[in-house]
Amino acid sequence: MRLSYPSNVKVVKLPCTGRVDVLLILRAFESGVDGVYVAGCMEGECHFLRGNLRARRRVEYVKGLLEEVGLGGGRVEMFNMSASQGQRFAQFAREMTERIRLLGPSPVRK
């Protein structure tokens, strides 16, 4: 559909968002990324039944951790979308980039 979204977003492909590990998200912040979001199937439409629900729980957990250590829980987010929702993907990409832009660079990088 040739929609446009900021080039800040880089995708790591996974078989299922259920593969997203709490540590992997934390490792990403540790290595200096400014934000992480996990994009999975719509709830109830997970190809692997309920991987996306588990991923959401983990993202919520990481949110708490980031809040606690002072990075800000807003730097991590979970989104759901279906294969035909290209617009939605682009929209989330824009939203998240804007949000992170407002939050500024990750303190880890300083």
Binding site: M1, R2, L3, S4, Q87
Partner: protein, 250 residues
């Protein structure tokens, strides 16, 4: 102060320009309002030059080439005629300056005729008054210019004679009516879409507002919006909920 029209004229090197020189040699007098651009052939005049000229502040545009059959490049003037006819139709449909555009023929021997054409056209423009530069008209001109500069139209215009007179890629002759129809439809669509893009540069608008501005019915307007949405050039403003969604440039 009385109005002095500013006129741009494109003269073909072999006939009209020579005719202009002959007028000079013969000391035929004509008004000084015209500025001349020499082109090798009237076929070189890009229709997009005309809206550009109007936008740049000219009140009239003349294109003078060789008489039919006399073209130094065989058929450049015929092609010019075709292109300018299309342009004239668009200008007249949109009501922007079709009467301020003149295409005519002057041979190298017609110094007298050259002077007369200049005199006549200058008077014509003088009586029409300065080119009305409202925001709407400028928007239309810009849209016309963008459309004419687009590849689709240029390709079609260039290809049309071949399709109608020789053969298309399937080795058949395309019905001239069909070619004209496609050309006009495509140009109309491009024009409307470019105008809408122009409108949305300033603000978000509802379909109704856009159709009012285009002076088209909603039924005629919606397909253009659908196409633009499909091409990803516009989208919907989701910031407020209403029964009448607003379109926004993406």
């Amino acid at each position: 102060m009385s109005f002095e029209p500013k006129i741009l004229s494109f003269l073909c090197n072999w006939c009209a320009y020579a005719g202009a020189d002959l007028a000079g040699i013969s000391r035929f007098q004509y008004p000084p309002n015209t500025r001349v651009i020499r082109v090798m052939c009237s076929g070189r005049v890009d229709p997009a030059f005309v809206p550009r000229a109007f936008l740049a502040g000219f009140d009239g545009v003349m294109i003078l080439g060789c008489h039919p059959g006399d073209c130094h490049y065989i058929s450049g003037n015929i092609q010019a005629e075709r292109k300018i006819a299309l342009l004239r139709k668009v200008l007249s449909d949109e009501g922007v300056g079709s009467e301020r555009l003149l295409l005519d023929w002057v041979s190298a021997g017609e110094g007298q005729r050259f002077a007369e054409l200049i005199r006549g056209f200058t008077e014509q423009i003088r009586s029409l008054g300065p080119f009305p530069k409202t925001e709407e008209i400028e928007g239309k001109l810009r849209a016309i210019r963008t459309s004419l500069e687009g590849e689709k139209i240029r390709w079609m215009v260039g290809k049309a004679p071949e399709l109608m007179e020789k053969e298309n890629v399937y080795g058949e002759r395309t019905d001239p009516e069909r070619v004209r129809e496609v050309l006009e439809t495509t140009l109309r669509e491009e024009l409307c879409k470019n105008r809408i893009m122009g409108f949305l540069e300033a603000a978000t608008m509802t379909a109704k507002e856009i159709s009012d501005k285009l002076n088209l019915s909603l039924k005629e307007t919606l397909p253009h919006l659908v196409s633009l949405v499909g091409e990803g050039r516009i989208g919907f403003d989701t910031s407020e909920e209403s029964h009448y969604p607003r379109y926004v440039r993406s």
